[in-house]
Assembly symmetry: C2
Homo-oligomer: 222 residues x 2
Amino acid sequence: MHNLAISIRISSDLFIKDPESTDLGKRIISKSIELLDELGFEGFTFKKLGAAIGSPESSVYRYFESKHKLLIYLVCWYWSWIEYKMVFGTINKSSDLERLKTAIEILTKPIKVDNSFIHVNEVLLNKIVVSEATKVFHTKAVDEENDQGYFAVYKRIVQRVSDLISAINPDYKYPNMLVTTVIEGAHQQVYFADHLSSITDKKRGKNRVYNFYTELVCKMIS
Amino acid sequence: MHNLAISIRISSDLFIKDPESTDLGKRIISKSIELLDELGFEGFTFKKLGAAIGSPESSVYRYFESKHKLLIYLVCWYWSWIEYKMVFGTINKSSDLERLKTAIEILTKPIKVDNSFIHVNEVLLNKIVVSEATKVFHTKAVDEENDQGYFAVYKRIVQRVSDLISAINPDYKYPNMLVTTVIEGAHQQVYFADHLSSITDKKRGKNRVYNFYTELVCKMIS
DNA sequence: CAAATATAATGGTATTACTATCACTTTCCA
DNA sequence: TGGAAAGTGATAGTAATACCATTATATTTG
């Protein structure tokens, strides 16, 4: 697909001015993805971002209240994109089990470039989500930010997959726990493979994360 | 057990002066656990810690190089304590399966107070590990810190449980992935139950995390 | 062309994370 | 018992961070 006439909609509480609405905004998104990947969340600052796009720090603050909000924005964008892929990927499948397997595939297999969104590098964004997304949740402000609805997309994805599981096996007791175990676990396995490889099973090939979690879900609900 | 004549040994790379060696050191540990729980890692500073123990910031810096190192120290302490509980809890079991179940119990059931270590509140420390420990890993310095051996205890625990699994079923392909899925997943479920309860299965009772992951491991390796 | 909007440029504040210095006190051991 | 060594307190200082505010200059739009 090329340059679809769709766009990812993000809650307007997450930005001051919609970055999609201007050229500078898009450059902010695009460069912040590169810089977050390069420097990590702690090393990343609006000053460095400003320097990278040739604008002052204050211009960035016109779009985002804080770097934390920017991170949430990007993570939300990511999950919205995943949801969109999940909806379109499962729509024409013939059974719930097929749909479930596709969903798990989307959640666990490596990300491929998607040229539909020019200013977003999904492969890099995935790397950021893998290594930084826990910082979105693990904050003293979680509850407040949850009330604001910042995690709605994420929760909706969990619900979707959970519903598929319940459709296949209505008696299975822990559909939500199973889904979050898969989603978070898959990212964690990728991170461990990169940084603590002795505690993964790296030899098991390229699709081991997908294979492991697919087997896990199938065994649990059967 | 009361005041056992054992102590948890932590790599001396993690501190400048051993906090176990002085009274002030022990108060630093004890208060930092309380404050980290209260303020979260981001809100926690050595200045506030100093104020809480009635000492200047600079005294804290004589024990720990940075608050990041202090967090690693505490997380290491926690995993060392868990390892100790695992070793003593499994030693007199009659089969590998029994040992495995005990290990999973220790990793997934709520923590109880342990009066063996007066200056450490294990229940609070567990809360800190649940909500802040990902920050130990998710840093641009992971690889370096891994090389320094800071994560050795954690990796050893994974290895122990993984070995039990391989002893029970030598053909199971993903023992490491299974173990890390359980360890990290169990903490995550506790955190989600507290802050994003819609994506857990809270109704399933008090031991749902233990039951879920025990069932998961047993089904996977059988 | 005027009005509105977007951006640049600059400066400022409070806080953080950390370092350095000096003085006082306690311990220890020769 | 006297004197070094170790532990702590008190104070000051620095560079960087995360932000905010103001003014001036472009750029767009109606």
